[in-house]
Subunit: 155 residues, 2 copies
Amino acid sequence: MRELIAKYREKGFKLTPQRLAILNFLDGNTSHPTADDIYREIKKNYPAVSFATVYNTLQALRDRGKVAEITIDFQKKHYDPDIRPHHHIICTECNKIADVFQDYSEALRLPYNIKGEFQSTGNHVNFYGICKKCRNLSRYVSKRENKKRRTKLCA
Amino acid sequence: MRELIAKYREKGFKLTPQRLAILNFLDGNTSHPTADDIYREIKKNYPAVSFATVYNTLQALRDRGKVAEITIDFQKKHYDPDIRPHHHIICTECNKIADVFQDYSEALRLPYNIKGEFQSTGNHVNFYGICKKCRNLSRYVSKRENKKRRTKLCA
DNA sequence: TTACAAATTTAGAATTATTCTAATTTAGAT
DNA sequence: ATCTAAATTAGAATAATTCTAAATTTGTAA
Ligand SMILES: [Mn+2]
Ligand SMILES: [Mn+2]
Ligand SMILES: [Zn+2]
Ligand SMILES: [Zn+2]
């Protein structure tokens, strides 16, 4: 945490109590929170905190490459304080997200027709699945609203 | 197109002129349009068409597994009338999206720790890159707003 | 054909996530 | 202690999407 502070103080990143709370919440967090998740958490200790502050801080961190936004949820952005390259798996029942640390770059070669059109700079894999908890629940629950499940282009 | 109509008429899917226009626009379309793209296109021939109709139709198609939504753009949903399993590459400069038809499932094995927690049902790869057009442009344009580029968890 | 119920269309309001604004406060430097 | 740039705040603005309720249309069956 000490180092965190030092790390951010450079580059005119002012450290306010609100920001420290946000930084602290994010540090080592593997839950991929949304802005709202963060807001509700920070509000516990800083009841006057504003939504704008959360967004401002996230933008500041994002612009400095300290958090990543992940494209996995249709409704809202999720933030990831772990900026090491990695992938994600999301439970299609409860939307729980987990990290997948594994480099597939070697295997993810683009087909020739694409290589002519695009110069690839990176890749990110979204895995879909059912988490353990939901798998157990589904024993007792009839598979309702199956038709409403989104069509995913899953391989 | 004849078959398209027959295909949708089953299951109480009523075919209105507006829907036919949408179906027609989507049929074989590889541009991954947003709801707004579709709306603006349909409006050319049906100036009175409503946004709600576009969304309603997309929902109906989605619920019947006839179009997929793709998670690649932070701002809005893109729709894909091609529901064969495939992946995408997006230009980080102009957001152009292209299809990547290649099955990487064999290589995309989950690490053991995840296998215990999730039962995987599918995967989707987002590639990032620069398209040919933007690559050429960038010769003449200074690399502005480089700092504002989002941190992507690219491998 | 005609009649009809159920599905669809529509304008506009509502909702939700995110960004912007402008006045006030605060952090960090001197 | 002073000062300025940066950060905070409430609330308004924006943008994508969904909802509502009344009017219209479709497909079907008499
Ligand atoms: Mn992660
Ligand atoms: Mn596609
Ligand atoms: Zn789950
Ligand atoms: Zn491009």
